[in-house]
Symmetry: C3
């Protein structure tokens, strides 16, 4: 037994279950990858340029690794992360050496599985980085990065990526997607509408951004209906660049369903001066319900990523900026929080809301019971810190019995690191195979059903969950439930 990319890694050790798990894994290992939510850089695909070096590829964009090194007292400067003040930081080779010398810190973490996989998959490297081999690996990776088959589009092909979504803010000019459109890439590559820049009054640029939204769309955003119309316009533009989904980040899972006059009064208050915390929260809450209403109209799938305390280290935010590892999950109350939105739109056949949260105590208590009732709801896969073998196991253990398989949205990799995409899907597929093998082995699921469900969880579910709910409609007027249609695949 070796820990380094054993063909049976993450599968059970018990011979009975192992045999089943292998068969299930074989059935899904080579399925195309559907990557309906993530944070890859659209410039990669628009320009198809080579990656610069091993550090820029594997270390500095990976907040999982940065935070683990940080937790052991290694500063971000030493890791080559650019400073906000443009001050000097370690050069890429020095940063790589430091990373390689502390690679052992990643034992037991999914980062280790992902990077091991990526080194093997892309570079044929089958030994873990360490102080001794740091320079050799660095040079080998950099050399290999010159090959055309490691350019971004070639990576998508090699990884059998059927479709991949990036995520852009409402005010983004989508210039990279425009460039992709000319190359016929839109569809397989698509944007996602994430309007947090104009829905969060706690963003210091909120009022400025809202004004910009008005300019871009020719709407009067000081009028509630005008602001909604502006979103409608932007959503249509995003759909032109392939978007089938929207995405919304929230510190909690609160929604609201105010009267028209209350909405206008709230907006007017927010535009007239600094937002009080209660108004800021209420606006975010109401905007989720508005986005659900627009989804009912235009069929875009709505994603909600709820419950993160962002930027908990003010010193890091000041020195190196956001998204570097200082975000910490928070407890949420989705049952109470989503009640207003669901009471309003939860049975609309054209709403599909994919929920993500980092509070595992809600899996069995709130999320699975809600997804097992509301036609509009699907559960997103385990997110962020929980997108790991044990995290996946806890997720499936806690949601399947009440939500079933048809109410799950399959997997998405949610990554900023292109080469981690096949690695992350690999982990999910192995964990799904192991989970279903457990059900076959305890004799509660027949093997043919297990194979069908494995395929669903590794491919069909994501495709079904992220299809525009009005896509199949002639004239857009049919009332067929897309959940009903899509789930018949399972």
């Amino acid at each position: 037994m070796s820990g380094h990319l054993h063909p049976d890694r993450l599968l059970p050790s018990d011979p009975v279950a192992l045999r089943v798990a292998r068969a299930l894994h074989d059935a899904v290992a080579d399925l195309p990858i559907v990557s309906p939510h993530g944070h890859t850089d659209p410039a990669w695909f628009a320009t198809n340029a080579r990656f610069a070096n091993a550090t820029a590829l594997l270390l500095t964009p990976d907040h999982y690794v940065l935070r683990m090194l940080r937790s052991q007292g290694i500063g971000y400067d030493a890791l080559g992360v650019p400073r906000c003040d443009g001050g000097p930081v370690a050069d890429p080779r020095a940063a790589w050496r430091l990373f390689a010398s502390r690679y052992d810190l990643l034992h037991g973490t999914p980062s280790r599985l992902w990077i091991d996989h990526c080194l093997m998959w892309a570079f044929g490297i089958d030994t873990p980085p360490c102080a001794e081999n740091a320079d050799v690996l660095y040079d080998r990776i950099n050399e290999r990065l010159q090959d055309d088959d490691l350019r971004p589009l070639a990576v998508l092909n090699r990884a059998r990526v059927e479709s991949i979504a990036t995520t852009e803010m409402a005010l983004d000019d989508l210039s990279h997607h425009a460039a992709m459109e000319k190359q016929g890439l839109i569809g397989r590559i698509r944007t996602t509408y994430r309007p947090d820049d104009v829905t969060d009054p706690d963003n210091p640029a909120f009022r400025y951004n809202l004004e910009r939204l008005g300019e871009l769309t020719g709407q009067d955003v000081s009028d509630w209906d005008g602001m909604i119309a502006a979103h409608r316009t932007r959503r249509a533009l995003f759909r032109r660049f392939g978007a089938t989904a929207t995405d919304h980040g929230m510190p909690d899972a609160q929604t609201a369903d105010l009267s028209a006059p209350a909405k206008q009064a709230l907006l007017t208050r927010l535009l007239s001066g600094p937002a009080c915390p209660k108004d800021a929260s209420l606006f975010r809450a109401q905007m989720l319900t508005e986005m659900a209403a627009l989804s009912c109209e235009d069929g875009m799938v709505m994603q909600l990523h709820a419950g993160v305390r962002r930027n908990t280290d003010p010193a890091l935010l000041a020195s190196h900026g956001p998204n570097l590892g200082a975000d910490i999950p928070a407890r949420i109350d989705p049952g109470a929080g989503l009640a207003p939105l669901l009471a309003r739109h939860g049975t609309d056949a054209h709403l599909r809301l994919v929920l993500f949260c980092l509070d595992e105590s809600t899996y069995a208590r709130d999320l699975a019971p809600m997804a097992g009732y509301w036609p509009a709801l699907r559960l997103g896969p385990p997110w962020w810190f929980h997108d790991s073998p044990r995290g996946i196991r806890r997720y499936l253990d806690q949601v399947v019995e009440t939500a079933g398989f048809a109410n799950l949205a399959g997997f998405n990799d949610d990554t900023r690191a292109l080469l981690s995409i096949p690695a992350r899907h690999d982990v999910w597929r192995r964990c799904v195979a192991a989970f279903l093998a457990g059900m076959v082995a305890d004799r509660t699921l027949p093997m043919p059903e297990a194979e069908r469900i494995a395929t669903w969880l590794c491919h069909g579910a994501a495709r079904a969950a992220y299809a525009n709910t009005r896509a199949a409609e002639p004239g857009g007027g049919s009332q067929t439930s897309t959940k009903l249609v899509s789930s018949s695949a399972i």
Copy 2:
């Protein structure tokens, strides 16, 4: 390995543990069923009438199945669920066809295990329903329902039901139980006193119901002591119809211990006009403590089912009514909430309080430590959504180490579906066997002890937990702790 009712289903796949689990399961598989809490219809037993058809038996009363179908966009009308407005809904056969055609949605859920078991146990059907066999199964079930041995009382016999409790509200006339009394059925079949109709000021009929309670008992319910005396009278009546327990449903786990003047002032406020939320909550909280005091007097076992948001879909409530799947669990704080009640009565040898909640994060943090200290407390089995193989596993995993086995109340099926009773006890017994087999296999529990504990968890514990705490008393005055007595069985 087949998934359809394999004799070793839910037992471990590892051969060592499997051998042990089989032996443990053999020891408990044929024990009589004690069903001390549930929601079967007393009319079934009083009249012993045949069930109408497959749909009325298996689909429309099963909110687990209804909600799963609903979550996939299937309306309640199409499932034949009666409308509040009496409007037309699908006929039973059409509803059954729809159910059968989507039976695959139940994979991974306990509903699947229960219905498979029931089809086999009662009808000898060993293939899962599907679109193709829907009519054949429907006709076969209906035909078989004509047999006398599928009448309700025959089902109890065949399932070896030693005792079964129904649940009636405080104002119920208990006419079905009166009819049963004449047939000598009371004792084996018993009612349970659930006074939520007169303890919840948020019930629109609260004041009307309280008035009725006064009329039924001849007490002045505008006086606190009079109201308590009215409960005392009703409890005595329920005991005459076999009741050994009361039951209390609460949105949270809050209790209170007010002074006499504060109690009277609260009641007076509530009777004088619409309840403010705080008063409503305080009244529910105080009434739990009052019920505990009455249990100390009359020895009735007190059950608390805490932490559900009821009727979260207002549209469904309006169209089809309550208890159809739109209830969602809520987070509770039993440690703080129960403190007033326990400080007052928690060491009284005549109080036994069986706790149920749907917030699994309280299992190891609150419930097990509390049950492992307070003589009055026992932990009810995993409830509702968690009454499933994985739910049972998480429950045992999280409570046993701190609460031990003697502080558990065994199993209860809590069902509205008569034929699911043997199926649910079957799942519990298998999961108990698997859990204890794990302890034998990791060499921390000797086999003879495991057998003794398995029997306790599958039979003795429920019988002990639900025995009136004053039942064994000559003259009702002994101070022997019934927990002490009963637990010596383990």
Copy 3:
């Protein structure tokens, strides 16, 4: 398979994983014990006197056992626990008989594992206590307690205790440690600074204690800086008696970072009359941040034990006192609560904060993400009710993937019962072996790494976590991160 101290107890049953687990357990079974946090009585070591009898050794100081017996209706008088009023209680032999006759209640609990181990390890007794053998065992234990090799210091030797920490309040005179100093025992045996007696305004003696602190140190404790200086003085004294750590018990995990005037105003209010709950909470919160600042100065490791409702049974507190089993865990919010302290000191290379909590829902959501980012944080082992085989398994399952192994503080036994020390470390070591064997068996960790990590978790981590962060500094001025240094051992 026997349940009584089988050599493979707590190891997997699957033969593949068992072979690995055995090898890992062999590698750690005989490592010296580092016991950096606990509640053994310093008088034992200072006087090295014999233990009085089996009851005083095994029953009356063990709140785990007392509470379990209590939960089954057995009173503390009958168990020989001294009353506050000095009234009569059962004699030791009678109490022992009662305990032995109900020993079966401990099945499934870690207490059973610990006591079985202790009986075998210290007394060669390999049968569980019961009514029949109660007197024989009692006499045998008492006889054996006369042997010199069961005196406290001999027990430390026999258990291979490398170092052990007791816990003393800020006002403690440390007389036992002074006696130990004369015998050259300090270092191997050490105190820990726990200033809860002078940091909790809800303590009825708070103002009196604070005055005493001023007298002992010659500081004006009505002045904020004077009060801090008083702590500085006491901490130095504790360090003279070996202390490398402080410890802080809190009902929640709240910290604060007030301005100097606000701190002084708070202290002045508290000294001028009874504390309002908000001020009491704020003072505790601010004092944690102050203690962190002092740790940055003097290098003492800071422990936080957060989230317990103490003394939930007022009747027991009145009759027999605290620490007898009526403490119940509470939900905490460490993410929000620790933010002020961490924003101030979380990246200081000389702060090391070891966190313990009883709210397992924070493991994966808050604690692991926090420890995987903040250089100052390490996670303490599972605490109290969760210091059990399943508790350990849940802990490792939920923290390792995000916190890694290097951010864990290893194990501490936290016990009041001397003879449970080897038993508790034995359980930890077996569970660590089983956990890592699972990773080897699912092929995600190579065996040599597993052995290295096992050794770290069972020995190196505790030693590293509890080393004074300035210990290695020549002149105390080096800025080397001790986390960096120490973790290179892994």
